[in-house]
């Protein structure tokens, strides 16, 4: 084997790497057929590889992942919430729906209802967003005031409803029907819904 061309062993390794030129392969094949030492060397190399590859494949010990997880630094709360959202898509969708809906309600009311409005009646007087039922007058219908106050000095034969405002009664004032003051968002929603179904 000492008299063999130097490149033969190199060709053997190139062959084992699956990375050999065709001429080199032919040369190697021809040489191995004629040289027992090199044939033996080549066989030993192939056997070595087979042996190393036969080394039993092993798996990580039980509980490995849990041990690794225990080593990690603690994660932030934000991530926990994001994961909760990801794991509960339906609840997240429902929560988002409610959020947008209530946002919609709020904007609906705040856009449309910021102006001062009241039931038109020729007997009523108005001073600085306060509707006055003058003393001695008698109003025979329901009164309705939004975003303003009402001062009752005369008498009203009907209901009085005040939204986002205050009601002042003079001692001589008199209301025969119901008096309602509504000034909270949900009270208003409830009121609007009730009137929707009436």
């Amino acid at each position: 084997m000492t008299s063999c061309p130097k490149q033969i062993v190199h060709y053997m390794h190139e062959y084992l790497d699956g990375d050999i030129r065709e001429e080199a392969k032919q040369e190697l094949r021809f040489h191995i057929e004629t040289c027992t030492d090199c044939k033996k060397h080549f066989a030993e190399l192939k056997k070595t590889i087979a042996l190393v590859q036969s080394a039993s494949h092993i798996e990580a010990p039980a509980g490995f992942t849990a041990k690794v997880m225990a080593l990690l630094p603690r994660e932030g709360k934000k991530i926990g919430m994001e994961r909760w959202f990801r794991n509960h898509p339906f609840l997240t969708a429902a929560a988002l729906f409610l959020l947008f809906m209530s946002g919609g309600f709020a904007s609906l009311f705040s856009q449309e209802d910021n102006h001062f409005a009241f039931t038109k009646n020729s007997e009523l007087k108005v001073e600085n967003e306060t509707v006055i039922v003058p003393a001695g007058t008698k109003i025979e219908e329901d009164l309705f005031v939004k975003n303003g106050n009402i001062r009752i000095e005369g008498s009203v034969e009907g209901d009085v409803t005040v939204i986002n405002g205050e009601r002042f009664m003079a001692s001589a004032g008199n209301v025969t029907g119901e008096i309602k003051e509504i000034d909270q968002l949900f009270g208003r929603i409830w009121y609007e819904m009730k009137s929707l179904f009436q």
Binding site: H13, E59, A60
Partner: protein, 187 residues
């Protein structure tokens, strides 16, 4: 699988540890195997494998997502093992193998613990010789041989893992094979 891994890694970068748990599940056997074949000690291999994943988690932002994740992970594992081998080098004198109790130690080192039937003893001896041969390799040959023949990775990937030129990897595989041949040809 690569797509899943990439998605999990994006979640890990955001700080999601459960996503990292899935990555550990996917790669734990491969990483443990590299560590075990490099170190040949179950406890040391487990420590090294755990350390590999911890390092990967802490340095996940340095991972280039356009490259293969396994390459990056195996690089951490091999570098860790090479460090450990260098640190404990004095333990690895060749004459230690002559000691009469060595055979017993070899069995106790084998991964498949517990009682074994008689007919497996012979293959156990072969296994022990293979381990011994791998263990006798200097670490630069050992890492390429483990990656090539235990993990069965292509040479180019080994070059990427070890950050070496392909030619150097080939030379090391050739020399590693020759060294192994000297130890194993009599089996």
């Amino acid at each position: 699988m690569d797509l899943i891994v990439q998605r999990r890694i994006k979640q890990v970068i955001k700080g999601d540890q459960n996503a990292f748990g899935e990555i550990v599940e996917l790669y734990k056997d491969k990483v443990y195997q590299i560590c075990f074949r490099m170190l040949w000690d179950r406890h040391e291999a487990e420590d090294a494998a755990q350390e590999t994943f911890l390092k990967a988690f802490l340095n996940i932002h340095t991972y280039n997502q356009s490259k293969k994740f396994s390459t990056w992970l195996y690089r951490i594992a091999t570098n860790l093992c090479i460090d450990k081998i260098r640190k404990k080098k004095p333990d690895y004198h060749l004459d230690e193998e002559i000691a009469g109790t060595e055979g017993l130690n070899m069995y106790s080192h084998l991964a498949s613990g517990g009682q074994l039937p008689e007919e497996e003893v012979e293959s156990l001896e072969v296994q022990a010789s293979i381990h011994e041969a791998i263990l006798m390799l200097p670490e630069k040959y050992r890492s390429v041989i483990v990656l090539k023949y235990i993990e069965e990775l292509p040479l180019q990937e080994i070059a990427d893992i070890l950050e070496l030129p392909l030619g150097t990897v080939k030379t090391r595989v050739h020399r590693g094979r020759e060294a192994l041949r000297k130890h194993l040809r009599h089996l």
